[in-house]
């Protein structure tokens, strides 16, 4: 920060409380605590291979959570993220396997499809004034159905597209540093996160994303075309879902049309754990990444400790409630 305010001097945490940084700190501390806890409980946990497995498991949910962060900062919500991801994977399958297009075109088609669907959601929300919850609930079902229709309810395999599985599973980093075979999927997650962070922090689109969530009417009365900007944000989030679609299809080397439902809730959970306010106006990509990592570490760690999968879900649910409660308690204190 360029300037230290008087208030900052009086209360060292006052500056942090802005933009949910305190919650982010809390989330980060929880992540570290989880890592330490699990390493003490099980020697297998801290293995490089297990760490990489955790990162790999974070990649798809992380990318979706980045998309969800954008929407949630505007004060909206997107329930169609999961099925949109699947829809984009199916589009990639159609382009690559059915139409036999080159790899890059298939990827571009998936991302374009995501952006288009995001634009549709954005239009419903911004132009037609349908509440985001309802608009994207509708979109969620439409996309789920379309994925099944287009694929004929069967998975589409990418066996004819050599290299497609390498998008997620290959490791460019591993080729340079063989000791650190971090999969490309993770690399892509970080690139997406950095790009989204930059957009949020440094561009007009990002500034309006926060402004819309903070007070949409005031922004509109400032002469800003709020509808158009909101549609752009939804389209951007859709495009990011397209990337998630490519990632999951590449990891499974197939587009699974029945998959996808439930992913949106995991993404939203990561966003919330990361300190982004569901009422809009506040949030960070870094927080979301930490949130996604916490969920992946938790799932992985409990599995390493041989806790039944059913219980893993219970714990995740409890963590979400705890995270939001901690955030609210903090807000109450600082007003």
């Amino acid at each position: 920060m360029t300037t230290a305010t008087d208030i900052d001097k009086k209360k060292p945490l006052a500056g942090l409380s802005e933009s949910g940084a305190y919650q982010k700190l809390l989330a980060f501390a929880s992540l570290i605590a989880l890592l330490i806890g699990f390493s003490i409980a099980s020697p297998n946990f801290m293995q490089t291979s297990n760490m990489i497995a955790i990162l790999q498991a974070t990649s798809v949910n992380g990318v979706l959570a980045v998309a969800a962060t954008l929407i949630i900062i505007t004060g909206g919500i997107d329930l169609s993220l999961g099925t949109l991801m699947t829809f984009c994977a199916v589009i990639a399958g159609v382009a690559l396997t059915y139409l036999g297009l080159p790899l890059l075109l298939g990827v571009a088609a998936a991302i374009a499809a995501g952006a288009f669907c995001g634009l549709c959601s954005g239009t419903f929300v911004a132009k037609m004034k349908i509440p985001p919850f309802i608009a994207t609930l509708g979109m969620m079902l439409i996309l789920k159905g379309l994925s099944l229709v287009i694929s004929g309810t069967r998975p589409i395999y990418f066996n004819d597209t050599p290299g497609f599985d390498q998008i997620s599973r290959g490791s460019l980093i591993g080729e340079v540093f063989p000791a650190l075979p971090i999969p490309n999927g993770v690399l892509i997650l970080f690139l997406v996160a950095i790009a989204a962070s930059y957009i949020l922090g440094r561009t007009v689109l990002g500034r309006y994303t926060f402004a819309l969530g903070s007070n949409e009417e005031a922004v509109r009365l400032s002469g800003v075309n709020t509808d158009m900007w909101k549609m752009r944000i939804y389209a951007l989030a859709g495009a990011i879902c397209g990337i998630a679609g490519i990632l999951i299809a590449s990891r499974l080397n197939s587009a699974q049309p029945a998959l996808g439902l439930g992913y949106e809730l995991e993404a939203i959970a990561a966003v919330v754990i990361g300190g982004t306010s569901l009422s809009g106006g506040r949030g960070t990509i870094l927080g979301t990444l930490i949130g996604a990592l916490i969920m992946a570490v938790l799932t992985n760690g409990l599995r390493v400790l041989s806790v039944a999968q059913e219980w893993q879900t219970v714990v995740t649910g409890a963590i979400i409630i705890l995270a939001v409660y901690a955030d609210m308690a903090r807000r109450k204190k600082t007003g």
């Binding site: 360029t2 305010t5 440094r202 561009t203 007009v204 309006y208 402004a211 002469g223 800003v224």
Partner: protein
Amino acid sequence: MKKLVDMTGIDKHFPGVHALKSVQFDLYAGEVHALMGENGAGKSTLMKILSGIYQRDGGDLEIEGKPASPTTPREAQDLGIGIIHQELSLMNDLTVAQNIFIGREPRKSFGRLDEAALNARTAEIFASMNLNLDPKTLVGSLTIAKQQMVEIAKALSYQSTVLIMDEPTAALNDAEIAELFVIIRRLKAEGVGIVYISHKMDELKQIADRVTVMRDGEYVGTVDAAETPISTIIAMMVGREVNEEPLDVPDLGDAEVSLEIFGLTRGKEISDVSFSVQRGEILGFAGLMGAGRTEVARAIFGADPKDSGDIRVHGKPVSIKSPKDAVRAGIGYLSEDRKHFGLATGMNVRDNIALASMDMFTGSGGVLNDGEISTTAKSYIKQLGIRTPSDAQEVRLLSGGNQQKVVIAKWLLRDCDILIFDEPTRGIDVGAKSEIYKLLEELAEQGKTIIVISSELPEVMRLSHRIAVMCEGRLTGILPGGKDTTQEDIMHLATQRKAAMQVTGTTQ
């Protein structure tokens, strides 16, 4: 006369603030005791201690001669203390009676509600207030004034002997205020003691017996309402004499006409409004609440659609369909409700100033130049005297007057030369008010065109070079500014209802 309340040496600390410093206050049966002071003077804190919402850190509180320390609003109610908050706390979807008896509904066996008893008891209270209202009416369908009456009825239903009213007339028009005063006088006659918090000086003279003034958490003094001149009370509030400078209406001669409105119409709210404003002029808009002034402003600005009407800016016709079009034409609108319509309160000062002008700071690929935003914001902070620790401060932490200046900076940066101010000093301290007035005058001198909508007649008369008066969606006349126009002249036009106009046959 019986002393109902006696507070002495009341002390209250909040983290980092000494909110009340040995404050005293008393109240007799059958009197209206006004409590005055700028925002933040400690009036509300003192009354919250009396009504059990806060606990005092020191001092004594006696109610009807007995020491008391209510720790909850419920305990205070049992002691006969009722409070009517500034923001009404009624449930719109329940009936009047259900609202009044919420939480203590008469019951029949097995927990069934006794609606008949509920309505009967409400009707009794209304009868005692001489208020003609059906207990079964939904609260949401009532006017704000009637809702206020319901709040009073609710307070009375607790057998209150002390009634605290926090700015009860803030949202009422003159007729409704008169209605409220009738009720207050009746309660007074019945021996209820009333604490009356208000910023409106003229009301004091009408309704209050004594006035206690507070400043910065301290007791300043108690004076007789009838005998003390208003200037003395204001001086007590601000700690200095406020001298009302007479308005000097400049001769604009043939300065360019910057904004012309022809036949602006929308539904029942705006009918055939036409006027024009010159460069450097301050045009005031007076009228009672609901006269359609805000609606006219929002229609000109494109915030709400209009049925018909033409707008010319600097002589050229412009089509305004959205705020975006208005801003492009150089029109800025400063809403009365800054928190909802003017500011992104969660964002910082610099982003709010730049909110309407982001494209000025955008490089290739939509990347923002934050350094430049900060530099620009700082220059406006200096120019307008915005008191903020830095340009990175969140605007919600600023005072009302400084928030208003942030909104003004937003429009100046956007290069808007026609500025419409809707209630520019609502919720702003007396001291900061005159600062805003000076700022508006300076803007006009610099050649901006200023439209000021205000419900406070002294404010309209203090600022306006000409005064447009509205009634029921029509522009009933435009009066010259300055000392030749009296409040009575304005009120005459503001109450010129349609029927009356047809008789005289004069339109504007």
